[in-house]
Structures are given as structure tokens and as C-alpha cells.
């Protein structure tokens, strides 16, 4: 099922940070992994990814380094910094609060009978 772009926009950063929490990756690898892990639900455009990555790097949440592959190709890998890990934790918490609030509304609102 394709997802509305506006829904994706708010969560792309957290998804990228989460991917990098597992291991260092290069841009193309992130898009592929994201699509694979979400059964092609999240089909991130590369044009969306790079401005986000460069912004994260500028803010010190990720750092990049170049690595030469066995075929001689040089790739730019991104690595989650400790500041990035903290940011991910905060964003994750924010997401839990947000999604649980949305779910409550979608499920008919807070049941005051249980309070």
C-alpha cells in the first residue's frame, strides 16, 4: 500500500536515524534497507534522503566517512553519533506520544470511565 507523502515527511528523519543505529550505511543502502524492512511501504526518494542526511550531519547527529569497497568504489558512509543516539531516543519518545494520541482519537477518544 502506498503511503501519503505528508505522513512520510514527519517520520523520515527518525527512520533514517533508526537504520543508522544498527550499522553505518551509505545513501543507496539506506533506501534499499528501508524499503526491504517495510515490505516496500516506505519507498524513500533519494532526493528526499540527501538533504535530510546533510542536515543531520550539519547538526552533528551523524558523521560521514569515505570507505573504499573491494571493487575500488569509494562510498560515503554515515555513522550515528552519540548526540544522534540521544536525538533518536527523544524523537522515538515523541513518536510514541504522538502515535498513541492519534490512535486514541481514531479509536473513539479517551475513555474517561477508566480514569
Amino acid at each position: 500500500m502506498s503511503i501519503d507523502k505528508s505522513l512520510m515527511a514527519g517520520s523520515t528523519t527518525i527512520l533514517i536515524l533508526k537504520l543508522l543505529e544498527e550499522k553505518d550505511m551509505y545513501g543507496y543502502q539506506m533506501i534499499e534497507t528501508l524499503a526491504q524492512k517495510s515490505d516496500d511501504t516506505f519507498n524513500l526518494k533519494a532526493g528526499t534522503l540527501y538533504p535530510i542526511l546533510h542536515n543531520l550531519r550539519d547538526n552533528g547527529f551523524v558523521e560521514s566517512y569515505e570507505k573504499e569497497e573491494s571493487n575500488g568504489k569509494v562510498r560515503k558512509y554515515y555513522h550515528l553519533t552519540s548526540k544522534g543516539k540521544k536525538h533518536l531516543k527523544e524523537k522515538h519518545q515523541e513518536w510514541i506520544t504522538f502515535s498513541s494520541a492519534v490512535n486514541k482519537i481514531l479509536n473513539g477518544g479517551v475513555s474517561y470511565a477508566t480514569i
Binding site: 526518494k45 533519494a46 532526493g47 538533504p51 546533510h54 550531519r57 566517512y65 568504489k73 569509494v74
Partner: protein, 455 residues
Amino acid sequence: MQPFDEIKQYSKTVCDQIRWKKAHNIVTEEIENHLCDQRDAYISQGEDEKTATQKAILQMGDAVSIGRELDKIHRPKPQWAMIAFTAMLMLTGMISNYFIDSTGYSLPGLGLVSYIIAFSVFLICYLINFSFLGKYVKECYFVTFAALVLGLLLGTPVGGRIWFSRLSVSFSYLSLILPLVYSLLVYALRHKGYTGIILCGIGYIPFAIILRLVPSSTGFALFTISALVILCLSIVKGWFGIDKKKGLLFAFIPAVITVIADVIHIIRNPDLINRLLIAVNPYSDRSGAGYAYCLIRDLLANSKFAGKGTVPAQFGSNVPVIPAFNTDYILATLTYNFGWITFGGILVVFISFSILGLYHVAKQKSVLGTLVSLSVMLTFDLQVIIYIIFNLGYGILPALSLPFISYGKTDLIINSALIGFMLSIFRTGSIFKDSIKSSFHISYEDGKLTIALKR
């Protein structure tokens, strides 16, 4: 249009939207690499090269909007506050030298010419692309070494220091550039693991020996502390790719041995012990070697919060002239003449500059940017700390210079160049790319097979 030309055209369109031209290279490389990966994936799914390229470009998205987004991120970061602090320090130096110089030594033009030259040097270094330093490590190291050896052979000893008499350049100021040269050496050797650390140790020795052979010991201390910090930081950051604890042992054991050897040398040398004791308690030889320290301490004890201090009782009505007041004791002289408020004001500017500088060093994204800017900050901070301690009447290490303020053309120009380089790094460091270890490279692009044996 050939398929690879389409990729080139796409990345060019992206870059056309980014106003900061220096950022184009890193963006182009990343976009093109991504497109090639995506194209190769489509080819492996059975598409021909042309279709695969077009699909990869389509997947990437609109080049103009990507470029606009990247343009918002990639901007030079001029550090106006630090530039203002630098100008403030230069102005303080110029005015201070004018007001305290009763001999008229620096009066002509307020020493303006020296400061104009220094500010020009600062601007040139600020606007220069610092990344060239990483490409000429060997040249930087050996040219500096040759200059030091020439200094030793041709220099003339005057007033306890060695001078290049024809140029009126004090040899001791050359020690100010050694931390930077050493940071370049560490940068170049960082891929070599334990061997790299050993080579960094070997690289330290020639400079250390030369600095030990000439006065003053401040140059040696400044270089040694800086070199150790630079090397340890590189190990802790994992840039040598080795076990950090073992790496630190590799760096610390020779350092501890050197310190022990120095302590033994001092203990076995009664003159040195005597000098140290006088530096701590100058009143034990008030009319001899402790004279200047006693004078400074007496004057500071009689300094006011604001305005000229009172005359210490032992001097009657005339305060003796402080020796080397505008080079070695400008801070103490200013404090006595204008009050502790001047000392406090100058200290605040130096501390603010230092905090800002170290903050930006910590924010550097490249190894070269971090190492070079750290080396400059260490040089700057150690000069200031040693100078302040000396100006409080504790001559454990002789003062070298108070950056931009104490009188001296060579140190003024060297410090201007160093700070200019550092601010250039802060301005453009975000787009600098460290060199990677590579000696053999094969690539296939646009129907051409390229084998690069050396890059």
C-alpha cells in the same frame, strides 16, 4: 546524450541551485555515486543502460528542488564573533603599546604598519582553502625542519635567545608553528596503526631536540604539550584504528620517560634548581635573578582596581622601569598603569575567544579540520596561560608572547596566520573531505576502465 552524460547533467542541475561553489564537489560525488548504484541495480534487473539511467534519475526526484534544499544547508559559516574578538585583541595590542611606551619605541604610526601586515596575513589565511595543508605534509615537515636547522646554524644569540639577525626574527617564535606541522604529521600517519604512533613519536624527536638546544624552554613545553594532546586525541577518537588503551600507552610511556629524564636532568643541575626556586620564591634573591619577579609582584600588590597603582614603599617616589615591559610584561604593566579592570577585560576577551574556539574545534567534521584547528587553539591557549603566569610574577616558564597584544612583529604575524587558518577551517570545514587510504583503484565509468595506481 550518453547515459553517463545524463547523470552528469542531473548533478550539474542540482549544483546550479547551490550558491556556495565549494560545496559542489561533495554533492556531485554523492549524487552521481547514488545514481550509478541505482542504475546498476536496474541493469541487474534486466534493463538496458539508457533505460536504467533514466529510471534512476526519475527515482532520485526533481533536481532543482533537491538543489534548493541542499542550498539551505550548505553555506559557509563565517565566525563573526571570533573575527571581532581577533580585531579587538589587535586593537588592544596597538593601543596598549602606544600608551605604555614612554620610550617612543613603537610610537611611529602606533605600530600600525605591523598590524596592517598582520591583519592582511590574517585575511589571506582566512580566505585560503586550508585543505591544501593535508596534501603537503612531507613538504611542510621538512621545510620547517630545514628552517629550524638553519636557525641553529646561522642564528645569533642575543639576550638569551637566538635570532636570525638579518631578519630580526627570534628563533623561539618558530616553535609557534610546530604544533600545526605536527598535527599534519599525525593526520598523514593516522592510517598506519601502531606503526603510525611510533612514527609520530619519531617525528616529534627532531623538533624537540632543536627546541631543547635553544632558549627558551617555553617553546619546548608548548610544542611537547600540544603534540601529546594532538596524538592522544587522535588515538581516543579511533583515527589510528587500534585499541585505544594500548594506543594511549604507546603515546604515554615515551612521554613519561621524557618527563623523568627531564626531572633527573634538573635535579642533577644545581643552576636549574636554583632558577626554579627563584621563580617560585624570587625574594630569596631580590637584587639578583629574582629582581624582575619581585618588581612585578610588588607592582601588582600596589595596583588598584581602576587607574594607576600606588608606588611601593621600597621604591620611594620613582617606580623603576620594568625590564622588557612591552614584550614580556605588557599585561603586568597595563595592570599597574590602568588597574586590574584592564587585566580582567583582556582576560575575558581571551577566555571568550578560547571557549568559542574550542567549541568550534569540537564541532569539526573532518579529521584534518579537527587536528589543525586544535593545534592552533593549543598554541594560542598555552601562549596565553604561560604569559599570564609569568606576568603574575611566577617565572617558571619564560613568556613567549601574549597573542596580538605583546610587542613583537614575528609572533604577531605568526599568530595572525594561525588564527586566520583556524577561522578558515571553521568557515569551510563542513565540506572538507579527509583523504582515504588508497594506493590501487579501479573504476569503470562511461565505457572506460580506469586503473589508478596512485591517488
